[in-house]
Amino acid sequence: MKKFILGLVFVSVFAVVTVAAQTLTVWDFKYSEVNAGGSQAPMKANDAAFEKANPGVTINHVAQPTDSTQYYQIIQSAATSNAGPDVAMFHPGGRVDGFADILVDLDPYIKDVKGQFTQASIEMCSLNEKLGNPVKVLPLTMQGFGIYYNKAYFKKAGLDPNKAPKTAAEFLAACEKLKAAGIVPITTGQTYTIDFFLRCEAANTYGPNVAGLVDGSQRFDNPVFKESAAFVKTLIDKGYIEKDGLSRPYFMDAIDKFASGGGAMFVGLLSDVGNWKVFSDKLGADNLGYFPAVNFADGTYKDQQVMQGAGIAYGVMKWSKNQKLAAAYVKFVTTGEGAKTYSAATGALSPNTAAAGGATIYPVLKAIQGYLKNGEKDYIAIGYNGYEDDSNRLCDRAFVIGDLSIDDFVAAYQKLITK
């Protein structure tokens, strides 16, 4: 009690001097999403709640470019001048490792809540994605990819809407029937439809050994992965992946196209945008099916769910003069009510187990949660800084342009990840 009173006196004395001047600047590449279901509304609500809980604190939430290259350019510019926001949003993985020098180790601040986060998310948010290393950021969402399908179109094409075409043969047969019925089999966007599909297949090919791709103990010239690359080629050659879609941006055009009934299947996301909630709300909750990957006959693993333990996360910057307050803010929005508010509004999956739950009206979410048990790492996120850009360009060459054969692609892909 004495301590409490002393604390009160301390706070009231300094309130006028320091608290009144406290502004936390937050940089965020999701804050520009002002649309319904976008990130800004729940973030604003969380900021207001944090300000209410911490009188005298103002949150200056800045919408930064959504384009990740532009965004990290600004972060780098801040690092160059060693001044910038108190809190910034990051993609965990290679990007966080690249900026590790300017991010505060969060461990001392998160002892009480660390246990709430899934182990996969903490691993992803730790330096070099290794459990036991300092935690650099706290995750707001987890991410993953999978294949959504429109049951009404399946029915129309004479397919069983409740049976996901999970084997390669079933998948091809479904595409053929859909095409024959005049339905676009796979709604496509540049280049991520192919990229996400391969990421799904990598999880299925390597199972728990995906991380081995980075250290060289696993290779892309694995026959099963090669089969999935050749499979993508087949999908394009047979016109199941619409050629017109390859010039359409995945974000948000392809997503909107599928959501408005533009095709039967779509390689979509689990969180953030283009997710189960968006599609359920648009196409009807009972009309949406999901499966995590196509299973190939030779594959050891089946139905594996590619997953980034953490999709987007917040970190505290070393130059911040209010590191403690900044850490409190990061905790506030990634745990408890803060995390719930964000997930409920956007459909993002929270890696915070204490905040998960709800949203049971979506059958497809149940399906996803079932597959999450088979969660496997996403190799793109653990590659080096800028790996995604290189990988996308290589996919472009092999699948969009077609100047690389599948053998050359797999060989080049192997060379790339160990670069």
Partner: protein
């Protein structure tokens, strides 16, 4: 004077056809954007090309306020004119010095400036943003204006220099014999004579600054300070806005440049108001 056209009637029709094709080619992309801006997010994916079934203006409301396009436009309207004014003064002085004054290393310095006019912004961006930060000008209009003026002045100076260099030297000599100071010669004789060229570089400067991206992106990190061009670049992106809203934002961003063009067309077209055969 007699009206003579070198074109035969057939040639005249062909020329008109070429011109009309060019005009259509210039306007079609704008049509694409304008028609998209009037469609709902639900209509666009199924009807990306044709006119909207029932035009809506929600996208504009959204882009203007939620997307802060109005605010960004106001910001640009503050930074750019100040930048252009500074730039014109600097280019005018330097252009006159190079074109009509005599001093040691004139040619070497001029060549150095000329050399700078070719520099890509990306080569400078990291260091410029560091410098602006050292000057405590990050997130200030002044910071971005200085970077613009520095970056675009060599080119403006180059144009002014060639213009002044072409002017008869006798004008300066005459003024000098009258005992006028250099400042006076510049302000009351040279500048008025160079007015058409000043208008040209002002327009080039205006457009360059209005459309500038890399420096403003690094210097103006606060949303409330952004320029309209930066605003568009930020709105477009990985998880960016939908085409209808982006289109509405593009149309709003076009307003000021188009107005400037309509108001200053006479200067932008360098005062050329008649075809040769009508003189």
């Amino acid at each position: 004077m007699k009206k003579v056209s070198p074109f035969s009637p057939t040639a005249r029709i062909l020329v008109q056809i070429v011109m009309i094709i060019l005009v259509v080619a210039s306007l079609l992309p704008l049509y694409n954007v304008i028609s998209a801006s009037l469609k709902s997010i639900d209509e666009y994916p199924t009807n990306p090309v044709l006119l909207p079934k029932a035009p809506i203006f929600d996208n504009y409301k959204y882009a203007a306020f939620a997307g802060h396009l109005i605010r960004f436009t106001v910001n640009s309207l503050i930074y750019v004119p100040v930048g252009v004014a500074l730039y014109v003064v600097i280019c005018l002085m330097a252009g006159y010095a190079f074109g009509k004054m005599r001093f040691a290393f004139r040619r070497s310095i001029f060549l150095l400036v000329l050399f700078m006019s070719i520099f890509p912004q990306l080569l400078l961006a990291t260091q410029v943003s560091k410098l602006i930060s050292l000057m405590h000008l990050t997130n200030t209009g002044l910071g971005v204006i200085l970077s613009w003026v520095a970056y675009f002045s060599p080119f403006g100076t180059y144009i002014m220099t060639t213009y002044f260099a072409d002017m008869p030297y006798e004008l300066v000599e005459a003024a000098r014999i009258d005992g006028a100071s250099q400042v006076r010669i510049l302000v009351s004789i040279m500048a008025p004579l160079a007015l058409p060229m000043i208008a040209t570089i002002a327009i080039i400067g205006f457009q360059s600054m209005w459309n500038e991206l890399p420096f403003s992106m690094l210097i103006l990190q606060q949303e409330s300070l952004r320029t309209v061009t930066l605003g568009i670049a930020v709105l477009r992106g990985e998880y960016g806005l939908r085409v209808p809203i982006l289109s509405a934002a593009l149309v709003i961003a076009m307003i000021v440049p188009l107005l400037i063009f309509l108001l200053f067309q006479r200067y932008i077209t360098l005062g050329v108001t008649a075809g040769a055969m009508k003189g």
